[in-house]
C-alpha cells in the first residue's frame, strides 16, 4: 500500500480504512498481532486483515461486518487526525486542476497543516514530481514527516519547518505551482514568485475572508502576476429517496368535470394498481444544512521572467 500506488492485498504496516457504514469510517494501521475495536466487535489484524484483498468484507467478532478499503487521498481527507482546519475534496479538486498539476509537477505548499491537501498533491505529481511543503508549527511539521513516511510518499516530499512569510519556501526557480493557505498570504507573494520557475507558473491562495482576498489580489497585481481570478465552489450533496405524495380527493366525479379524472390519469402513470390516494416519486433532496462557505480560491499566473 502507498498513497500513490494501489496494492491488491493488505500487508503489515499498511494504513487501511475501515468502512463501518454510511459516512462512518476509521483509519487503522495494520500491525500483526494487533486488534482494533469497532462497534461490530474486534478486528484481529493478523487473521482478518493481513493477506486479505482490499475491498473485501471482514466479519468482526460480534458477527457484524465491515469493508476494508485501500487508502486514497480522498478517504484520508475524511479520516485524518485534525491538527488544523483542513481543505476538503471539492476545493482540493479545483486547486489541483487550476494549478495545472500532473505527474512531474514541482509544487510548493504552505502551511502543511494536517496534510489533507499534501496527500492529494503527492498523488497527482507522483512518481516524478516533488512537493516542498512549509509548516510554521514544529510539532505539526514533525507529524507530517512521520505520516508521509508511513504512507510511503516521503521520497516525493520535503517538509520545512519555517515561517513562509519571513523565510519563503527554501527553493528558487524550481516550482510549477505554489499554494498558500496562511493568514496573510500577501506577505508570502514575493517568496512564491521567487520559488516559481523562470518560465512562469501558477499560484493559488485560499482564504476564508474577503479582506484577505482583497489584500492578496493587490499584492499579486503589484508583483506582476496575471490572470488573477477569484472563485468559490460549493458542493451540494443530494439524498436519493422515494417520497409519497397524496392525491387530493375532489369528491365524486360528475360528468362535466375532469379534475378527478386527471388525478386518476396521474396515478395510472405512477402507481398502476393502487388506489387513487397517492403517488410515489423518486427524487433527490439536498440536506437541510450544508457547508455554505469554506474559502475563496484566488488563482494567478506568474508570467515568464
Amino acid at each position: 500500500m502507498s498513497f500513490v500506488e494501489y496494492s491488491e492485498l493488505i500487508q503489515e504496516g499498511d494504513v487501511v480504512i475501515i468502512f463501518l457504514g454510511h459516512d462512518s469510517m476509521m483509519p487503522v494501521k495494520v500491525q500483526s498481532g494487533a486488534q482494533t475495536q469497532t462497534r461490530y466487535g474486534v478486528i484481529r489484524h493478523s487473521s482478518d486483515l493481513i493477506g486479505q484483498r482490499f475491498g473485501s468484507k471482514v466479519t468482526c467478532s460480534k458477527g457484524g461486518w465491515v469493508y476494508v478499503l485501500h487508502p486514497t487521498p480522498e478517504l484520508w481527507t475524511v479520516n485524518l487526525p485534525h491538527r488544523t482546519q483542513i481543505l476538503y475534496t471539492t476545493d482540493i479538486a479545483n486547486i489541483t486542476l487550476m494549478l495545472d498539476l500532473k505527474p512531474g509537477s514541482v509544487v510548493c505548499e504552505s502551511g502543511t497543516g494536517s496534510g489533507s491537501l499534501s496527500h492529494s498533491i503527492l498523488r497527482t505529481i507522483a512518481p516524478t514530481g516533488h512537493l516542498h511543503t512549509v509548516e510554521f508549527h514544529a510539532q505539526r511539521a514533525e507529524k507530517a514527516i512521520q505520516e508521509f513516511k508511513e504512507h510511503k510518499v516521503s521520497h516525493l516530499v520535503t517538509v520545512r519547518n519555517q515561517d513562509v512569510c519571513a523565510e519563503g519556501f527554501g527553493i528558487t526557480g524550481v516550482a510549477d505551482a505554489v499554494f498558500l493557505d496562511i493568514p496573510s498570504p500577501w506577505e508570502a507573494v514575493t517568496h512564491a514568485k521567487r520559488a516559481l520557475k523562470r518560465k512562469g507558473g501558477r499560484l493559488c491562495s485560499f482564504s476564508p475572508c474577503i479582506e484577505q482576498v482583497q489584500r492578496t489580489c493587490e499584492a499579486l497585481l503589484n508583483h506582476g502576476f496575471e490572470e488573477i481570478c477569484t472563485l468559490e465552489v460549493l458542493l451540494r450533496v443530494h439524498d436519493v429517496r422515494s417520497v409519497t405524495l397524496p392525491l387530493p380527493d375532489f369528491g365524486p366525479e360528475e360528468d362535466c368535470t375532469n379534475s378527478t379524472q386527471m388525478a386518476s390519469d396521474l396515478s395510472q402513470e405512477e402507481v398502476p394498481n393502487t388506489g387513487n390516494t397517492s403517488v410515489i416519486c423518486k427524487t433527490a433532496t439536498p440536506p437541510r444544512e450544508m457547508a455554505g462557505h469554506t474559502g475563496y480560491l484566488t488563482f494567478a499566473t506568474k508570467p515568464r521572467d
Partner: protein
C-alpha cells in the same frame, strides 16, 4: 400629514390573550400570553405575566421562580474596529497560539457590543475542530454555544418574517420545508394585496394562510381550500390578527370541488333553514355527509331499557331534554357550517379569484389543475413543492392544457454573511434548499389552441363551455347558480 406621528405606545403594549413571538438569539417561539401559564423555551421555563403591560420589543431576563424582569436598555454604539487586520481564525491557528478564543476574549467581544450570535460565529471561526465536525455535530455545536451566550428573551409582535423563520428553524417538516425566502417569492409573485380574492391551499400549518392574510390586511377575501378533516390554522392563529381579519377568511373542502364545478353542490337547505324549518337537519344523514368535520360525537350511550322507575323517568326526561338541546346546538352549528360553505361556494363559483397559492404535501398537479378553474384570467398563481419532479409534471400538464402563460419553474439560493472588520465571509452553514416554485399567469382559454391539443375530443368543447360559464358569472359572485 408627513409629520403626524401615529405611533402611540398604547397600541404596542403586551396584553393577556396576545399572540407573541419570543426571541432568544435567533431562535423564535410563538406563544399566547396567558395568566400564570408556564412557557418552556430553549430548555428554560418562565411565566409571561410580568411582560403584560410592557411594550413589544422589550428584552427580559429570567429571574428565580421563572418571572421575567425587563432589562435596562443598553446604549449600543461601540465600534468593532478594535479587532485588528490579520487577527482572523487562520492567523490564530497558524501562529501556534491558543487555538480557541479564551473566556477573556469572549468577554472582550461582549464588551465590544457583539451580540450573542456574533460571539458564536467567533467561536466557530476560532474552533479548529468545527469545520471538521460532521454537519450534524456542527449544528449541535452552534446550538450549544448559542444557549450559553444568548440567554435574554425578547417579546415581539408576530409577523410573517418571524413566524416563517421560526417554523423553518424549528419545525421545517410542519411547513413542507418552505424556506422564508421562498415564502417571500410566493407572496410577491402571487401579487397578494389588500382587496383581492385569493384561493389558498396549504398544508404548512397555516403559516402560508396567515402570511397571505397579513398581506391582505383584512381587506378582500381568502378562501382556504382544505383536505380531509378540516383546515389547519395554528400558524395563522399565531399572527394574532384582529377579529375583523377572520371575517375575510372562508373555507371550502376539497372533496366538494367536483360538486361545485358540476353545479351539483347541495346548498338547497340553506334558504329553508334560515326560515326556521330546522327539524330535518339534525336527523338527516345527508347533512353528516356534507358537514365535512363532525366535531362532536354523542358519547352518551343510548339506553334501550324500558323502566317505570320515576327517578329513571326523570333522568330520562332530562336526558331527552339534553339530547334535544344538543340536537339544537348541533343544528345551529350545522347551520353555521352550511352558511359558511355557501358563502365560500359563492366566492368560488364566480370563477373570478384574483390569485391562487398552493403549498402542500399533496401532489400539486391535480390540485393545481382543479383549482385553477376558479381563477379569473390575467391573474397570477404560485405553486410550491418541496420536490422538483411534481412541478415538472405540473409544468408539462399546463403547457398541454393551455390557459396559463409565463410559466416559470424556479428555486432560490440563500446565503447569509458575517460582516465584521477583516473577518467578512459567508456564514459557514447554509440551507441546502428552499423548495421549488412554479408560477404563471392565467389567460382566457382558447378554443383554437385547445383543438390542437393532445387529447383531442372533449376538452376543447369543455373548456369553451367553462369559459362561457365563468364569463357569464363574473358579476354575480353573490348569486349561487344552481345548475
Amino acid at each position: 400629514m408627513a409629520e403626524c406621528v401615529n405611533d402611540s405606545d398604547a397600541e404596542s403594549a403586551i396584553n393577556y390573550g396576545d399572540y407573541v413571538v419570543l426571541k432568544r438569539g435567533d431562535v423564535f417561539k410563538s406563544v399566547q400570553v396567558e395568566n400564570k401559564k408556564k412557557v418552556i423555551f430553549e430548555k428554560q421555563w418562565f411565566f409571561l405575566d410580568n411582560a403584560v403591560g410592557q411594550l413589544y420589543g422589550t428584552m427580559f431576563e429570567i429571574e428565580a421562580g421563572g418571572s421575567l424582569k425587563p432589562k435596562a436598555v443598553k446604549r449600543a454604539g461601540d465600534s468593532l474596529d478594535s479587532k485588528e487586520a490579520g487577527q482572523d481564525n487562520r492567523h490564530i491557528v497558524d501562529d501556534g497560539r491558543s487555538q480557541k478564543l479564551t473566556r477573556d476574549d469572549i468577554e472582550t467581544l461582549k464588551e465590544q457590543g457583539l451580540k450573542g450570535q456574533e460571539i458564536v460565529q467567533q467561536l466557530i471561526d476560532n474552533s479548529t475542530t468545527f469545520k471538521d465536525k460532521t454537519e450534524f455535530a456542527q449544528a449541535k455545536y452552534i446550538k450549544k454555544k448559542k444557549k450559553k451566550y444568548e440567554s435574554d428573551i425578547t417579546v415581539l409582535k408576530p409577523s410573517t418574517r418571524l413566524l416563517a423563520m421560526m417554523y423553518h428553524g424549528r419545525e421545517p417538516g410542519k411547513i413542507c420545508h418552505l424556506r422564508y425566502d421562498t415564502l417571500a417569492q410566493i407572496l410577491t409573485l402571487g401579487n397578494i394585496h389588500a382587496g383581492s380574492k385569493i384561493i389558498v391551499f396549504e398544508t404548512c400549518a397555516g403559516l402560508v394562510l396567515g402570511s397571505v392574510m397579513e398581506r391582505m390586511g383584512g381587506f378582500g377575501s381568502v378562501i382556504q381550500m382544505y383536505p380531509g378533516g378540516g383546515p389547519t390554522r395554528a400558524g395563522m392563529e399565531s399572527f394574532g390578527f384582529p377579529s375583523h381579519f377572520h371575517e375575510t377568511l372562508h373555507e371550502f373542502p376539497l372533496c366538494k370541488v367536483n360538486a361545485l364545478l358540476a353545479g351539483t353542490l347541495d346548498l338547497s337547505e340553506k334558504d329553508t333553514d334560515s326560515q326556521a324549518n330546522g327539524s330535518r337537519i339534525g336527523g338527516s344523514d345527508s347533512s353528516q355527509e356534507t358537514s365535512g368535520v363532525s366535531e362532536e360525537k354523542n358519547s352518551e350511550p343510548q339506553s334501550m331499557e324500558v323502566s317505570v322507575d320515576p327517578q329513571e323517568e326523570m333522568k330520562r326526561a332530562e336526558r331527552e331534554k339534553l339530547r334535544e338541546q344538543r340536537a339544537q346546538e348541533k343544528k345551529v352549528k350545522m347551520e353555521e357550517k352550511r352558511k359558511k360553505l355557501a358563502s365560500a361556494a359563492a366566492l368560488l363559483e364566480g370563477r373570478n379569484a384574483d390569485g391562487l397559492v398552493i403549498a402542500s404535501r399533496f401532489h400539486p398537479c391535480p390540485v393545481l389543475m382543479g383549482l385553477l378553474k376558479f381563477v379569473a384570467p390575467s391573474r397570477p398563481f404560485v405553486v410550491y413543492c418541496q420536490y422538483r419532479e411534481p412541478l415538472i409534471e405540473c409544468y408539462t400538464k399546463l403547457r398541454e392544457q393551455g390557459g396559463a402563460i409565463s410559466l416559470r419553474l424556479t428555486d432560490s439560493w440563500l446565503r447569509h454573511y458575517q460582516v465584521l472588520p477583516n473577518r467578512t465571509h459567508p456564514v459557514l452553514l447554509m440551507s441546502g434548499g428552499g423548495g421549488y416554485l412554479l408560477s404563471g399567469t392565467t389567460v382566457a382559454t382558447d378554443a383554437a389552441k385547445a383543438r390542437n391539443q393532445h387529447k383531442s375530443e372533449e376538452p376543447a368543447a369543455k373548456r369553451l363551455k367553462l369559459d362561457e360559464i365563468s364569463s357569464s358569472c363574473d358579476s354575480s359572485a353573490k348569486a349561487i347558480s344552481v345548475v
